[in-house]
Symmetry: C3
Subunit: 215 residues, 3 copies
């Protein structure tokens, strides 16, 4: 970031890049906390981590809100207004769903350590989030389209893996002898986990459409 008087020369619309980067930093924090949650066997220690996730998610809400406010204020934006809106919404959804998945684990008293699918999903989510973050960081100059395309392909590959993890979780679940309540709870958690990488793919799609137009 420019310091001192230099910042007054920064076109105002550059604010979007910084806001998107802050949002994706936050999402990385959430994905890393979520890994800690699913590796923690103690309910109360998980509760502390989930509370920390809640705080990060609230910060992310404020960033999203600021993006929408800036979008209302700035009539000249670095790229299409609808792309800014879609990217902000996708990043906001990613944060919401990661926190939601964390919350659900304790709410439904699911033991994540006993569930291989949850472990695999948490890792896939972090990988997808890191690829989103890398792609977001490249929007600022749009010079390395080659690299952005690689990140987008990576996100899509992880999303495909997540679909397979989800299918295998559901298959195991229906083959198991858990009671109906447990089945409904786990199925809901698996769906939420799968949604996170879907939303990463949405973010990737918006970034791709930005490249096509401006790079």
């Amino acid at each position: 970031m420019a310091t001192g008087f230099l910042k007054y020369f920064l076109p105002k619309d550059k604010v979007f890049y910084t806001l998107f980067e802050t949002a994706s930093d936050n999402i990385e924090l959430l994905a890393r906390k979520f890994i800690l949650v699913v590796q923690e066997s103690d309910f109360n220690k998980r509760a502390i981590l989930i509370k920390e996730m809640e705080d990060i998610e609230h910060k992310n809400d404020e960033i999203s809100h600021q993006i929408f406010i800036e979008l209302g204020r700035n009539f000249i934006t670095p790229f299409d207004r609808e792309d800014i809106h879609s990217l902000a919404s996708a990043l906001d959804d990613i944060a919401d769903y990661i926190y939601g998945a964390g919350k659900k684990i304790n709410f439904y008293r699911i033991d994540p350590l006993q569930d291989d699918g949850i472990q695999k999903s948490a890792n896939a989510i972090l990988e997808a989030v890191l690829a989103v973050k890398s792609a977001v960081a490249e929007i600022r100059n749009l010079k390395n389209t080659h690299k952005i395309v690689e990140f987008i392909i990576k996100i899509n590959n992880i999303e495909n893996q997540s679909d397979e993890i989800f299918d295998s979780c559901i298959e195991k679940l229906f083959d198991s002898d858990v009671d109906a309540k447990e089945l409904i709870k786990r199925r809901e958690l698996y769906q939420e986990l799968e949604l996170i990488t879907d939303k990463c793919e949405d973010a990737g799609n918006v970034i791709e459409s930005i490249i096509v137009k401006y790079a």
Copy 2:
């Protein structure tokens, strides 16, 4: 509304304010009928109220349809076309989901009087709908941004309360000894109820973005 020849002097785009106000009046009617539904112990009397909800919802469909038609016809709109589209969609969804929740109560033969969560949700929904209506009424002149912001904050607070009502309903439900069918039915109804205040929040968000741009 202007009568006689005066109406020819009304800028055509003013039609949007009137349509949005009619839609939010209708949604208030639906929320009030829904309160009557959840306070009625007799299945057949509920059925009559739900039929009345259906008729109001159909009227609302026509209003939404008219908004989209006007949006196609009017190339000059009082505020951003995409905001008009989003607000119309949010109001349409609110109406859809309130009617859907009413219908589901009889369809699943749920006794609403025995369910404290449904009672609380119905009241929260009416409160949220009234705040949306008040905010919509202020778009016409956009002078009292102070008041609009208060309505939007109110909607968001009610939405947070609804999340808590939902969590507590789900917790009770999974702790109860109802069978799987009853559990699935009630969970679906709770989700639908919670979605209604989400959609009120969406309407509030659009109105906020309109204020930022034009007030």
Copy 3:
């Protein structure tokens, strides 16, 4: 289509009509394969048909992708950019959900021949898809608005029928003595089937908004 050197005078944006027509041809293929799936009693023969559905769905993904790429490239489009985006998304969703429903039948080991609701839904889906295809074919000249409106009304009627099929499926399901697992699986499939005609209605709504603006 123009032949010979004439085609070089065709404005580049005509590409959208062709892409939409190819997408709707593909969707028809998917709906026809889905009919074959639900009429096939043998699990392994169904698996072959579902694999064929997957290939068609992949082709459709590529078409959608191409539409988004063209949308980024073409600054002059035959109709509103957001309408092109919405129509492409609706057609993409229809294809996704038809394939998803096919996949779910074998994944959940549901016998479609024993389920009257699945049979009726498959027929309703083909009818809705054919009406969407007919409406899409008319966008190219927008002369027969009368005919397009008829197709849109037809789509809406089929969507209403699908709602009734869905309600009756759910009613039967909850009245039956199937276990919780079977109930959850079938309910999910019915919801997916109902979503397909919803998405056809979305496509119809976009086409209607195009007519209002340009016809």
